[in-house]
Amino acid sequence: MILHLIYKEWLKTRWFALIAALVGVASVLGIVIGVAGGVRADAPFYFYQLIVGKERFFDLFRFVPLFAAVMIGCSQFLPEVTDKRIKLSLHLPLNATAVVYCMVFYGFLLLLAIVAVCLLLFLGLGAIYLPGEVMVPALKTMSVWVLGGMTAYFWIAMMALEPVGRYRFGYFIIAYLLVSLILRRYPIGGVDTLLWIFAGVTLVSSFSVLFTAYRFNKGIL
């Protein structure tokens, strides 16, 4: 039955996930083309800008995880809650928590797959032109944005399942503040401690859907 549930999620999200993946790949290609162009035009000057000017050459990726999270989250949960179709899933002969978590875990894996493809592509192509000393700090800063995307996805799932509009609005405000904090333009190489803090926030957020799913299932207003 879990497999059927996953197939249902796949049917809902596949095109949106594909769009998100294409946008992600396009952004990474855009970054690499920019780097390649800079290196071919005047490599010493381009590296001078990167190293001395601390130019954030990977900024194009900043909102990609958030975009993917919104695409997957909305395509997955909006159809379920607009007609309260999720009630059908929650009445399957399965534990309600298992059903909701199955959906969320599926969405999380899909999001993870998209950003993993983007980051691997960035790593593979970027390493042709840039040394590890530049790539590693860049990847760390990008990882913070990935955590921002994941947090956004979990809060979207949580908000979607909240049965009361005014609470949903409250969650939206907190989610907005939290995600904007994570998606700030942090200085390159200055995010080592933040990574752990935001990983903790993302972990806590991953459980958040249990709270609203319980309220939704019980019909608590």
């Binding site: 190293i51 000393e133 700090p137 904090l181 200055g190 401690t193």
Partner: protein, 406 residues
């Protein structure tokens, strides 16, 4: 049960988010600009002079007042005459430039000897890659090299920027020179001025694996390495543009050393400090102004770094304002974000200030819950009340945002 535990975690996360945003929102709305208080050392009177912004209620405007060390008021022009290095253009226009300072004619060369810069003892992020410029290119300025260097476990490596490959021949030459000088790879830190906007290159100062300091230069394409006899730990080095000083060196305790171009090291007679200095030096004096949050302390040294004078001055700070006092009464803590290497640091306020607000928040939350006919003594209601008692206004908002009805 699980949903209730998750709710507590969400409330706690919300408290942290509010702790970051709400105090900032309050400060943006209520923080007033502090009036300036400036402290300088006059080369003319060889004493301190002060400038201070005050609010003139008659003109309903802010104006500057000037005075000397003992408190005698000075006119704006008298003040400017005491500081010829700071007010060169104005004094020349008014024809008030002193003829001499300390018995020496005040020539253009003397006036140009002044330098002003910030010395910060905290580390920021720097890439472990830098361009090693040719130090004697045969013309003023520097040329950007085709490669970058790094000093890892394999020693120094020059990385060609176009091909992203290592120049093994050059790397070997420089490695041999470093090894001969007693350098032990990998480098702990590399300091220098990688900018091209300088009249001459003075190379890099490299701390090796054992904490020893080395000066690395490239002269006519060949390495020149000099070991510097440092018997102290190095936390940070601030290099300077070409002049008589190579760099200032901070120890982990914020003791300050200066390295001159003749490789002599001087420990500066400067007391406990926070590692943030405004340095001004000219032909006669070197003044190190330590910028604390609500005071500044200026140490004046002579050319040989011997102490001449010292003066401390209180500086207006938001922390001492009524708005800050109200903020401390309103919020139990705030989370601040450090610049540079980013950390989120919780800054708690004294309990004695915010306990009343927290108590009011607990009463409000209990009243709302009673009005909604909740059982206050249930464990999760008690947790809400407890979090509100500790986190005050943040706890109240967060508890109300996440309904506690199951």
């Amino acid at each position: 049960m699980t949903a209730k535990i998750v709710r507590v975690l969400l409330v706690f996360t919300t408290i942290l988010v509010l702790g970051f945003y709400l105090p900032d929102l309050y400060r943006n709305r209520f923080e007033k600009r502090s009036y300036k208080r400036l402290l300088y050392y006059s080369e003319v009177s060889q004493d301190f002079v002060f400038a201070e912004e005050i609010y003139d209620s008659l003109r309903q405007d802010v104006r500057m007042v000037y005075r000397d060390r003992v408190g005698n008021p000075l006119s704006e022009n008298e003040y400017a005459r005491l500081l010829p290095f700071n007010n060169t253009r104005k004094l020349k226009l008014l024809g008030m430039m002193p003829d001499s300072v300390m018995g020496e004619p005040l020539t253009q060369e003397v006036l140009r000897s002044v330098r002003r810069l910030m010395l910060i003892g905290d580390k920021g992020f720097e890439y472990p890659l830098a361009p090693l410029f040719e130090s004697q290119p045969g013309h003023p300025g520097v040329d950007l090299p085709e490669d970058l260097f790094r000093i890892g476990k394999r020693g120094i490596e020059f990385l060609h920027t176009t091909t992203n490959r290592i120049d093994t021949a050059k790397s070997r030459r420089f490695n041999e020179a470093l090894t001969r000088a007693g350098f032990r790879a990998p480098a702990r830190d590399i300091y220098g001025i990688p900018s091209t906007i300088k009249s001459r290159d003075d190379g890099y100062f490299v701390v090796d694996a054992s904490g020893k300091l080395f000066h690395l230069l490239m002269v006519h394409g060949e390495p020149r390495v000099r070991a510097i006899d440092n018997d102290f730990e190095i936390k940070q080095i601030k290099c300077h543009v070409p002049g008589e000083i190579y760099c200032h060196i901070f120890t982990p305790e914020n003791e300050l050393y200066v390295l001159l171009t003749d490789y002599t090291l001087h420990k500066l007679p400067i007391g406990p400090n926070n590692g943030r200095f405004m340095l001004t030096y000219n032909r006669y004096f070197r003044s190190y102004k330590n910028l604390e949050r609500d005071s500044s302390v200026m140490y004046v040294l002579d050319r040989d770094f011997a102490p001449v004078d010292r003066c401390a001055q209180a500086v207006p700070n938001y922390r001492n304002s009524p708005e800050a006092d109200f903020e401390a009464r309103l919020f139990p803590f705030r989370i601040m974000m450090t610049p540079g290497v980013t950390h989120l640091i919780p800054v708690p306020n004294p309990v004695g200030k915010f306990w009343l607000t927290n108590l009011c928040c607990v009463v409000v939350l209990a009243a709302i819950r009673l009005w909604r006919r909740a059982r206050l003594y249930s464990p999760f209601q008690l947790i809400d009340l407890g979090m509100t008692a500790v986190f005050g206004i943040y706890g109240l908002i967060a508890s109300l945002l996440f309904p506690n009805r199951f």
